[in-house]
């Protein structure tokens, strides 16, 4: 990787549009552009991931998955969405109206807000906050809140059990996830997501997963486990737990309000994998191996494509977990977090601090 490479903040398209308009309108155009792009991205991501999940799951199970709707069944998620939208949005008589209505909106809001600080490329990012990591941790809690009040407001015992489980599970797993992020923040010396990516410039060995001996990889593994729990995905999908709680927190939801939870799960998965890529795998940076010609070829691929490739790799791992492992029991799950993951990530943080203090990084 050549140090002469300049990572500009502004995107030429944005500059062009802003250039067309006078100053106050330019700011508004900026905002509208960002929101439109985010909405488009979320739609594409959700549709793509639903298709991918169905295909990956099918091939794990020696099936073909959707093949009929569109080429390779690519339009299947669209058909799914139409079906969900056409369904009557039932509202059981005994639910708590406000909580029941509000709950599906919160998780999707949370994942939107996380995407707002995600550096898709060096010049594609809605907002680069200097305390980006703190912001991410704060807004991702909205998803938990949605599940909690959805389960409570549904006035169904399965939902209640599911949401209480997720309350216990998500709050505890957030701890070890934050500790893993903290390690990278400590090593890179910044809490801005863009700066964290830029701190990994160089070859592949400069990515935080490899650069910190042992600690980096351990943190990455811990991050993957705890983010699986955060995403409510199998084998840690206890709040949904189909075979025990029928549908868990979303038992009473149907139609569009169910699809909001469903959508949030996939967008969350994307956001979470995006964070993993940003923190540990060099985000939008092209992988460089220190081999001149190869590196030049890899640099030709735009940064956002690298970002999406890395994200897809991590998402595949999430799907792999889900379709391979059996579900844990709630008490095993909590003891795994409090007796194993949390102490290990604490120790890992200490190890990382030692490495940073004595500059024991891989050069």
């Amino acid at each position: 990787m050549t140090s002469t490479h300049v990572y500009t903040v502004n995107h030429p398209v944005g500059d062009f549009i802003r250039g067309l308009l006078p100053a106050p309108w330019a700011a508004i155009a900026n905002g509208v552009l960002a929101v439109a792009l985010m909405c488009g991205l979320v739609t594409v991501v959700a549709i793509g991931l639903i298709w991918l999940e169905r295909k990956v799951c099918a091939h794990f199970q020696a099936r073909l998955g959707p093949t009929r709707v569109g080429p390779f069944g690519l339009l299947q998620p669209v058909a799914d969405a139409i079906k969900l939208l056409m369904k009557e949005n039932l509202r059981p008589r005994t639910v708590d109206g406000l909580a029941y209505f509000l709950a599906p909106l919160l998780p999707i809001t949370g994942s939107f807000l996380v995407l707002a600080v995600m550096p898709f490329d060096h010049n594609i990012q809605v907002m680069d906050l200097s305390a980006g990591v703190v912001y991410v941790v704060a807004v991702s809690g909205l998803g938990i809140l949605g599940i909690l009040i959805g389960g409570w407001g549904s006035n169904n015992k399965y939902s209640l059990l599911g949401s209480m489980r997720s309350g216990a599970q998500l709050f505890s797993y957030e701890l070890s996830m934050v500790l893993c992020m903290l390690l990278v923040v400590m090593a890179s010396g910044t809490a801005s997501l863009r700066e964290i990516v830029l701190s990994q410039q160089g070859t592949v060995a400069d990515w935080w997963i490899f650069k910190m001996p042992v600690a980096g990889f351990l943190a990455f593994a811990l991050f993957m486990i705890s983010s699986t729990a955060e995403l409510n995905r199998g084998p840690l999908d206890l709040s949904e737990a189909e075979s025990e709680l029928t549908g868990g927190f979303h038992t009473e939801y149907t139609g569009i309000s169910f699809s909001m939870f469903f959508l949030a799960e996939f967008v969350n998965m994307f956001a979470s994998a995006g964070l993993g890529a940003t923190f540990f795998l060099g985000g939008f940076l092209a992988p460089q191996f220190g081999i001149g010609p190869l590196d030049h070829v890899l640099m030709l691929v735009p940064g956002f494509l690298w970002f999406f490739l890395k994200v897809l790799g991590l998402i595949f791992m999430y799907m792999w977990f889900r379709w391979t492992f059996p579900r844990l029991r709630i008490d095993h799950l909590l003891s795994l977090e409090w007796k194993f993951l949390l102490p290990v990530s604490m120790a890992n943080l200490l190890l990382g601090a030692t490495l940073v203090t004595f500059k024991l990084m891989i050069p």
Binding site: Q61, L161, A241, W323, F325, P326, R327, R329, I330
Partner: protein, 427 residues
């Protein structure tokens, strides 16, 4: 946010009757409360004398302000595998008591049998334990043969053993898949079904049916095995041996499965005997009882096979017993195929089966345990009375003892390792 009482909760509204109790239906809330209070005076929940009454009473608010509650699992629930309803008394996630409610799919099969001829009754037993339909058929045929002194040619006996063992493997494969799915490993379900499909295809070739077979007849079977059948069975078994090793890697050695099954839902040998548990459930608790070994029928006494036994009677033992049983069945099948005789598959068919007066009993080992037919005849073409002893009801009766004190997830694991077939319980 004020909430109305949860659907199905035990708080009674004016004009409503108790939703889970049947005997107290029609009582006014005041009468119910009085009845509950009278019952409570006899024994508090958890005490030795306490029995859950039809008008279920809950323990009052605990010292920490916690309350027990009821959860109706089923009749529509993914893990009850049919229309079984479990009323579960819960303390948070912990199961305090489980009461199964039966009868949702009761069809009075035994009563219907009184209006069918003896041979017509055979097909009704398909509809009991539909995963062991061949073996159920066999039991009825054996009872008729005993009654009328019908002999079975050697080839017919070999066909019976082979088909029974294929059925056992088929049933256990489905159980394995469903077990994986109940514990959250959804892919296992498809793997189990993929293997099961091969055996189902063999059955389809044999008798045209895939689930409700109606294949065995008094004196043998409905038809001979088709050409090249044995070679195809061997092919399936070869695949299966490989797949079983894979299954072991996938679930048996999985640490999550071990953690969720080891020590969960333990049933001691004495209690298992008292409940009348048989089959893999009984054998996992250490009851060395297998009809094939201890009251051999057909030609089971000619083959070498072991009866796998468990020690602790927990979910893991029940799992392991079934896994080993599949390998034992493969052993039996291979021995049977090696010495498969030529000759007739059925002794001479009778135009009608008029069973002499008396009572007759035959028992077999299905994939789930001891299945027996008790037949009373008054010297006519139709049975005077028929009674089936099916393994599932007895196995289910142990569920409260196994599940109380565990978590909801344990209850699901226990239900899964009991391998219940609900139409067999309700009949």
């Amino acid at each position: 946010m004020a909430q109305e009482p949860m659907a199905g909760s035990m708080e009674l509204q004016a004009g409503e009757t108790n939703p889970t109790g049947n005997i107290h239906a029609g009582m006014t809330p005041g009468e119910l409360r009085a009845a509950d209070a009278a019952h409570d005076a006899q024994g508090r929940p958890g005490s030795e004398t306490f029995r859950l009454p039809p008008g279920f009473s809950l323990r009052g608010t605990g010292a920490d302000g916690s309350q027990e509650y009821f959860l109706n699992m089923g009749p529509q629930h993914p893990s009850t595998h049919g229309v079984l309803k479990l009323v579960v008394r819960l303390d948070g996630e912990t199961v305090v008591e489980v009461v199964p409610h039966l009868g949702f799919i009761h069809r009075a099969i035994e009563k219907m049998g009184e209006n069918e001829t003896f041979v017509q009754y055979i097909h009704l037993t398909d509809r009991m334990d539909y995963l062991s339909s061949h073996i159920n058929n066999l039991c009825v045929c054996m009872a008729i043969e005993k009654a009328m002194g019908i002999g079975v040619p050697e080839r017919g006996e070999y066909i019976r053993v082979m088909v029974s063992e294929l059925q056992r493997i088929q049933s256990h494969l489905l159980w394995w898949g469903a077990f994986g799915m109940d514990l959250g490993a959804v892919s296992a379900f498809l793997y189990g079904f993929k293997e099961r499909e091969k055996i189902t295809a063999l059955f389809e070739e044999l008798c045209g049916a895939r689930l409700t077979m109606n294949f065995f007849r008094p004196g043998g079977s409905n038809a001979d095995i088709p050409d090249g059948f044995l070679a195809r069975v061997q092919e399936v078994l070869n695949d299966l041996k490989f797949e079983l090793d894979e299954f072991e890697v996938l679930l048996t050695k999985n640490p999550i499965i071990r953690e969720r099954t080891l020590g969960v839902g333990a049933l001691s040998r004495e209690r298992a005997i008292n409940y009348g548990c048989s089959g893999p459930v009984g054998r996992a608790s250490g009851i060395d009882f297998d009809v094939r070994k201890h009251d051999p029928y057909a030609v089971y006494d000619r083959f070498q096979f072991d009866v796998p036994l468990g020690k602790n009677g927990d979910c893991y033992d029940r799992y392991m017993v079934r896994m080993q049983e599949m390998r034992e069945s493969i052993r039996i099948l291979e021995q049977a195929m090696a010495s498969f005789p030529e000759g007739q598959y059925r002794s001479k068919e009778k135009p009608a089966y008029k069973v002499p007066a008396g009572s007759y009993y035959a028992n077999v080992e299905t994939a789930r345990g001891l299945y027996a037919t008790y037949m009373v005849s008054d010297n006519s073409f139709k049975p005077y009375r028929i009674k089936s002893r099916s393994p599932n009801l007895s196995n289910l009766s142990a569920i409260n003892e196994m599940a109380s004190g565990g978590k909801i997830a344990d209850l699901v694991a226990i239900l899964s390792t009991l391998d219940l077939i609900i139409p067999d319980i309700d009949r």
